[in-house]
Symmetry: C2
């Protein structure tokens, strides 16, 4: 099965982390070479990588820093990992950095008593990512495909890091023809730049629509289900995702269209009310590629995410729960 | 009361029609000089002018062509007016060109028997626009302001040709402080370029938001009512407006927020189902200012308008009905 580079957008080779610059796609495929955790955090804050890419960036940065450190004592190495964790935790608010860094520190704790602490930690993360995470994402895509019927038309919003084209490919293997509508996803245009690019590259049928066209599409019967990703989940099934997901969920409910979410189960937060919402800079709305869209001095409000209540979700697609 | 140039974006001076190029605002204020009906239709099709500007363009083009014609017989002059009407009628589908051109031809018919047909027609249109239309738009803005309370926060979508700042100014006169949220209104960014510009120029408090943020704003209690315009109305109160209006109306209903429309009463169409919806070119979604947003060969679907059902409207603001 062909895997989009967006499915695994961050890779570690030697002592360099290669982060795919998602802001340049589809124009150019450029990887940012990252040598330390500060550069990694810069890539996250500038949204060069996002969603699943952020997860990989955190994991690999722990490995990278441990690989290249000249610190010899385990105490100092552990202190370094804790410093990196704190730095990621305060980088962006909505994505659960604290959960990922805690998991990494937990892994470190597990092998702390080993005589080959450093090597064992690196091996452990590698196994966790390759066998655990990669496998789970394939399983989740397959499970999503099982929910679809021949002839279904899937509306998606933002970008689910290479998983939507896998869903399409699993559907093909299951002899089901499905089509996709991708919203543009203002203001970062993840739909136009990433989702459309990825689905098209995989030979799937995808049509871009303005975010404003969702109700019309649904009302005209042009969409048979919605599948979106989740940037952060709460224990009760509420989840946060790219701004606009909430209104798509409300519209899907109104038009009685199934609404599925590729979920990441978590028990750290009780409900969606506990998910902090990042407010991004005005300029991301007021300008586009350096050009001003609106008058000088204009004020904008750009919450990066919104929260979808559990009761709007037809089914959480969540391999851990099975 | 200060009138935005967007309130009356088309003017006739001598034998030239000056059409404000709304696509260049807020960067530059440029008027397109139009000498004949073909150039006027080009400006309409290219969306250099839109909404109320289209209405003015039709009216003034009839006057312009009649002023400059060398045809001396009334029969020939009338045939010219009919030719212009047909050309406008087939320019863009959703805006009711046919209603406006029929009205113009009706005026011509009324003064056809006069010995000064040409002069009387020109005078009649002038009176109709200045005393009839301009006065009605002021009345409608005042009526909208009367619906607002001190402290209200109005969400608007797209651009209502200078009427929103008048509403704000009427509120100030009525000693009510109101604030505005304007959606960006992809893909043409009428919200970012026109509404924010106009409201800011009038000293009003306006904040731009992504079209995707509507449900979040409403759910957070940040918006107390919605006011939008209407590109075309049907007899039963359904109306068509810029794509995205329908989902805002559905969300307003869900969150029990009053939804008002600046209406244009018409009895030509029975319901919203009879309103033809213009499908615009792919490229308006796939590129921005000549730059590609999405991969080469990507497909897009961009319906320019959607239809809001009467039952979603709290009140039609319609001076004719009073």
């Amino acid at each position: 099965m062909k895997e989009s580079i967006l499915f695994w957008p961050v890779r570690l080779k030697g002592n360099t982390l290669y982060i795919l610059d998602e802001t340049l796609i589809p124009k150019r495929i450029v990887t940012i070479k990252v040598k330390n955790y500060k550069q990694a955090i810069r890539a996250v804050v500038d949204m060069k990588t996002r969603a699943f890419g952020q997860f990989l960036t955190v994991c690999y940065t722990f490995v990278l820093e441990l690989k290249k450190t000249t610190l010899t004592s385990k105490e100092e190495q552990m202190a370094l990992l804790k410093k990196i964790a704190l730095a990621f935790n305060s980088s962006r608010p909505t994505f659960p950095f604290e959960e990922v860094t805690s998991m990494m520190l937990g892994f470190a704790q597990k092998v702390y008593m080993s005589t080959n602490f450093k090597e064992d930690f690196i091996k452990m993360i590698d196994g966790f990512l390759e066998k655990g995470i990669r496998q789970k994402r394939y399983d989740r895509a397959c499970q999503a495909a099982l929910l679809l019927k021949d002839g279904d038309v899937v509306l998606t919003h933002c970008h689910v890091s290479g998983e939507m084209s896998l869903i399409g490919e699993f559907c093909s293997l299951q002899k089901k023809r499905v089509k996709f509508f991708a919203t543009e996803t203002r203001p970062y245009f993840q739909g136009s730049r990433l989702t459309a690019w990825e689905l098209k590259k995989s030979g799937l049928d995808v049509t871009l629509v303005p975010d404003n066209a969702v109700a019309k599409l649904m009302s005209d019967g042009d969409v048979t289900c919605v599948i979106v990703g989740s940037d952060r989940s709460a224990e009760n099934g509420d989840f946060a995702n790219k701004i606009g997901t909430y209104q798509i969920a409300l519209l899907a409910k109104h038009f009685q269209i199934p609404f599925y979410v590729l979920a990441q189960p978590s028990k750290k937060l009780i409900s969606g009310r506990d998910i902090p919402i990042e407010i991004r800079e005005d300029d991301e709305i007021l300008t586009f590629e350096g050009k001003r869209l609106s008058p000088r001095g204009a004020v904008a409000f750009y919450p990066g995410f919104d929260v979808v209540e559990n009761n709007l979700v037809t089914q959480h697609i969540n391999v851990d729960a099975n």
